[in-house]
Symmetry: C2
Subunit: 247 residues, 2 copies
């Protein structure tokens, strides 16, 4: 049954088909520009916030995605289960085409909002970015850096905090673009944001190609992801699960 | 405008609401059982395959998610952009309630399929799991370990390889359950799989709570994620982008 050992080892069909179609991806130009995408990690970040967008954006022709933190080394998630390596410290990075700030639980978000090294770095990098972006409570960190204007989105349970603290209007969309600042809603919304960014950076054709490349045809088995339709009980349960997973 | 410094630092509203509703999450029982979820990392894995499910499953009451690899330490993705820490070596882990094997590009998948240390470990752990699961080409690794029967899913471009090599029928669903083996389609399908697993492990109520906790209400800006509806040109472009991002 298992003749894997003797089968010619190309497990992905049609890898040569692109040549047959004479497809270009614009790589040459992208590589010459060398699209630099940086994602800021900090203690207690939520795992999917940076990794969802990184999966998508690392497929852009010529792009590099770099995980950055105050210091190089492993950075642990809110649940403490997983650590992702920061490959560069903020001191080593001064220019990015795209900056993405992920969200975190309460503790991680607050610590980042009070970390002047991170806030100064975000402001400095923001001056030259093409897009400055956030996922989940990452928008609160952009707010603490003074970068929010007019409208933004964030994690559903942080909407009131966003409006009261930064004087911007919360918009319940997957992502909200104001000037060059694009904020995304909670956690998984970073994936939708990433496809929007992919189309802005490389055009809709490439964005669609990446969508198929990562088979992003979501079909959740349940329909409970929208806070606007959730009961008070489900909201309370969600926040309880979130809090307990972070203890 | 920014009074963040003086605002009382609870950025998530309603965190105390759970107590008001008298909600239980079944934590006491789950903690006594200590649900152990292990994700196998190997060189060249695709970033979202393990991290999407880890985000969801780490919110299960009492659960721990552990990244495991042949050796402890950072394990790098297919694009080489990102490294996730393996916290345990396979030699350190003999029992898991849930095993998840992520997918990779061609090179990483083939190397894992030929790594007898990994295959032996997967077979050994599988004997006692409640669920043995895969994302993307991870199902080919389960196949190489001799664990596939009857039907399975995998990355769309590996469907022919799956059928010819392991004699199982490819099913174009987000996830396919056969006995205690649950395989998921490409990359992002691991998130849908994870909510299915969450409901199997902790019930639909908890799964729905986690869905709201990570605001999983996907709204892709494009509709190109389904290979069954994709043109030959788009398929070729997707595979070209995938291949070039791994160079």
């Amino acid at each position: 049954m298992n003749d894997a050992k003797t089968t010619r080892r190309t497990v992905l069909a049609g890898a040569a088909a692109a040549a047959a179609f004479g497809l270009g991806t614009g790589t040459a130009q992208a590589e010459s520009t060398g699209l630099k995408i940086g994602i800021l990690l900090y203690d207690g970040f939520s795992l999917l916030d940076p990794t969802g967008p990184a999966e998508v954006l690392s497929r852009l022709p010529g792009a590099t995605v770099t995980m950055i933190a105050e210091h190089r080394g492993p950075v642990r998630t809110d649940t403490r289960d997983v650590a992702v390596m920061a490959e560069r410290s903020v001191a080593e990075v001064s220019r990015l085409d795209v900056l993405l700030v992920p969200g975190a639980g309460n503790r991680g978000t607050v610590a980042a909002m009070e970390n002047q090294v991170l806030l100064d770095w975000i402001r400095r990098v923001h001056r030259h970015t093409t897009w400055t972006t956030s996922v989940c409570t990452g928008s609160l960190i952009l707010g603490a850096a003074g970068l929010l204007r007019d409208r933004a989105t964030t994690y559903w349970a942080s909407a009131d905090y966003l409006e009261k603290t930064f004087g911007v209007r919360y918009v319940a969309e997957r992502y909200v673009q104001v000037g060059k600042v694009v904020t995304a809603a909670g956690v998984s919304a970073g994936i939708d944001l990433a496809f929007h960014l992919a189309s802005l950076l490389a055009g809709e054709r490439i964005a669609r190609g990446i969508q198929l490349a990562v088979e992003y045809d979501p079909r959740p088995p349940f329909d409970s992801g929208d806070a606007a339709k959730a009961s008070p009980e489900l909201k309370a349960l969600a926040l309880k699960l979130l809090a307990e997973s972070q203890e």
